[in-house]
Symmetry: C2
Subunit: 475 residues, 2 copies
């Protein structure tokens, strides 16, 4: 009696009398929305006017309705294959010329391609299986345990999860801080990642910006002044383990000492460490102030797509279980244990991380960190040798230098810029050969930009200190 | 003179004098953290005690340090290949027996495997290219345009982005609502997804819960009472286009009418439509109240991994450009245009969506919606025929029925449960054959659970209405 409706014929008998198949709209195709030609066209790539909701419309790949005979002709398949082949080629070129963002583009996850056919979702808590069986919690918790060990917290004392990116880690860490201290004030240095200020705004928290040193580190003298001005309220502090622009590492020990000296006992502050890129490099660098839960910190986050390398953004968030237990009591009535920011979570990301951690291990990361630091020093020295202002923080692989005059050059090498400075983040995939290509091109271009003396290289003494500035005034 | 450090020998000359390569910690391997055996062991899978931060530790896949000779012996590769092969097999089995979550598990993205080697990140705004070149904005905007057309808003009047999941869409929509009306009160029905209440908590918004009808729809009589009690403040309303448990569709037109009747002019309310699953099915169902930006709504979100199907969670968020322009003015000083919740964004998700939309088109989705509705009716009728209480909302493919007595059965079929009810969401990959397997197993199991009359099937009249309840009292 039971027949599949797909097999055609005889299927009608299994449908209920009151079900009307014509209840499905026969012609659902919406009308084509007329686009305003003036807005969509006439914007060249060089024209970088920022108008929300417009620019990319000029180059976007429209979704088109398949023709009725596409299955027969194969035209659609051929079209899509050609789009993808062209796109792949552009990705190869763009990947080759990338220097500005802290992403390790050197990975091979071919062994995991077999898993792309599954809809893997770690919805909910990593430590509590939901009824959805297609998950990867066993990999996720394995990865979390590895990081818990790195940051020195016992398995039964931490809670954490694999996030969608560094921003989610910061959003989570600061939310936990706010739930621990509902009237706490958020302190973050000026050179902190924008996601931390976004969190303050989203969560309606009072936020105090702290000055920075030339290196980009938090200025603990200014921090103390600001703490003393707000002694009545608990402190929630974002500590940067590598700032976005200069790769500066805040001195965690000095931050804690400043808190203590200002009269904040350990039950009156919460520290979130934003480890974005460098949280995973620093454990392998001697003299670096150690990030450890043996110190009075509340949470640490790090990105997974940065030093480890991953096809899509992801991150790791670790906090103390006691904080989450306090949080989850309140969350419980809302839903079945929801202590993450996102409900559904990408189950592939933990497998990528698990795979790389297993293959490289602590020793492999150590080697790569060593290589990155060597190459970063090489780049900085060659820049200075060529008369180009440059700075490299001692514990960092982020080389800061004068912003190239030509935006086309900036875009070609995908440099991240702020004001008069640009940076290159030396990641494991950045070889000496690549740096040489970049340096040679920069030196050559500079000789044309500045040849007639009308335009001069910018002074970046305020950004990097006069000792690192080679402008006409300082050299 | 320039030599790669990787090539060994002669590399020292390129290093600066002051750089000390031994600055890298020689023995970074942290000590193994001792785990408390009592906590880690002794929890069987059947024991579902929920203790945060513990259960999955029993089954997790530890990350181990590679041996020095792994490259030579291949032992590590062999071990990892065997773990992945076993995992793949379990995913096949779990995918086969999945019925409870609204995920379309039927997809083939083999053509996109070539892109897994790239770190694709659409960081920042979809419409403004960042300097990071390895992105997929051209696909993202193509997908957004398709949805803008579906929900009837002009290209130059919308803003949107591909999110990490339905929760991110809700978090964004409600944040935009709060920025438009900083003192607005959030209204949401009791059967609303928990992420909406999470948003209220995160954003420190006043939140009013509205009653629901038996169907799961918002009760507009109660909504009116609550609106009239808070006439002094603007209203931010979450409208469910398919609730999580019962698949109930709130009547958008009635919600708007209720607002108007209660004295709320269009400049005093903001409506966010949570389209999670059904936002993409309903446009193809006749008689369904249409979601359209021609009506006074502020934003719509829908999940990408649900009806479309995708290896990882993702979603689409569309709002009015005017709201984002207002929002971004404030955000601008924080950073270079940051109007999303997450900063870094998965660049693969838009390509998956683009690929499926192109292949299936509006007509393809129409066919699949028709199939799902037919199969859902089939399931509901066969449940009722077998004497099992069941309900199916007219515009839905979510079949609600009595919760199976045995938790093992619930886990095997990955049913989502709440109190005395369970549900099956009939997605495109759920065939009549699969439903028959499920039905036959359920009927057989029930005859053993309830054979001696000591245990009786639960009454679910309050959840689904007495007319759909077949318990001993109501049948």
């Amino acid at each position: 009696m039971v027949r599949s409706v797909e097999n055609g014929g005889g299927a009608v008998e299994i449908l209920p009398d009151h079900f009307d198949p014509t209840a499905v709209v026969p012609e659902p195709l919406p009308k084509v929305v007329e686009s305003d030609a003036e807005l969509v066209n006439g914007k060249s790539n060089g024209d970088r006017e920022i108008v929300l909701g417009r620019n990319v419309h000029t180059t976007c790949l429209e979704v088109t309705e398949p023709d009725a005979d596409d299955d027969f002709t194969g035209d659609k398949d051929a079209f899509m294959a050609s789009v993808l082949a062209r796109y792949r080629k552009s990705l190869l070129e763009r990947t080759k010329h990338h220097l500005g963002y802290p992403y390790n583009l050197d990975f091979d996850y071919g062994a995991l391609a077999q898993l792309q056919h599954f809809s893997i979702n770690n919805l909910g808590d990593p430590f509590i299986e939901s009824n959805y069986g297609v998950h990867s919690r066993q990999f996720e918790v394995g990865v979390l345990d590895w990081f818990a060990r790195l940051w020195e917290i016992e398995k039964d004392e931490y809670w954490g999860y694999i996030t969608n990116c560094g921003t989610e880690g910061n959003l989570h860490g600061i939310l936990v801080g706010r739930e621990v201290f509902p009237d706490g004030i958020l302190y973050a240095s000026r050179e902190t990642h924008y996601s931390v200020f976004k969190a303050a705004r989203m969560y309606r928290m009072e936020c105090v910006k702290v000055d920075t040193l030339v290196s980009g580190e938090i200025d603990c003298a200014d921090f103390k002044v600001k703490l003393l001005a707000h002694k009545d309220k608990p402190a929630i502090i974002n500590v940067n383990i590598g700032t976005t622009v200069k790769g500066a590492v805040d001195d965690l020990d000095l931050v804690i000492q400043t808190l203590e000296e200002s009269g904040f006992t350990h039950d009156r502050f919460y520290i979130h460490c934003d480890g974005a890129l460098f949280g995973l490099m620093m454990p392998f660098v001697k003299r670096a102030p150690k990030v450890s839960f043996k110190k009075p910190i509340g949470s640490v986050s790090v990105s997974g797509h940065k030093f480890v390398g991953c096809p899509m953004p992801c991150g790791v968030q670790i906090t103390r279980l006691e904080h989450i237990n306090a949080l989850s009591r309140d969350v419980e009535y809302l839903a079945s244990r929801d202590a993450t920011i996102m409900g559904s979570r990408n189950g592939h990301a933990p497998i990528f991380l698990w795979y790389t951690l297993n293959r490289k291990g602590y020793k492999g990361f150590q080697k790569e960190v060593q290589k990155c630091l060597r190459n970063a020093h090489y780049l900085k020295d060659r820049l200075l040798d060529a008369g180009i202002s440059a700075m490299l923080n001692e514990l960092s692989s982020t080389v800061v230098f004068e912003r190239p005059w030509d935006e086309e050059f900036v875009r070609r090498w995908q440099l991240a810029c702020q004001g008069n400075i640009a940076h290159v983040v030396v990641m494991p995939n950045v070889t000496i050969d690549k740096l040489d290509d970049f340096l040679n091109e920069l030196v050559e271009k500079r000789s044309t930009w500045y040849q007639d003396g009308k335009v001069k290289p910018p002074c970046i003494a305020t950004e990097v200190g006069s000792e690192n500035c080679l402008c006409t005034l300082h050299k």
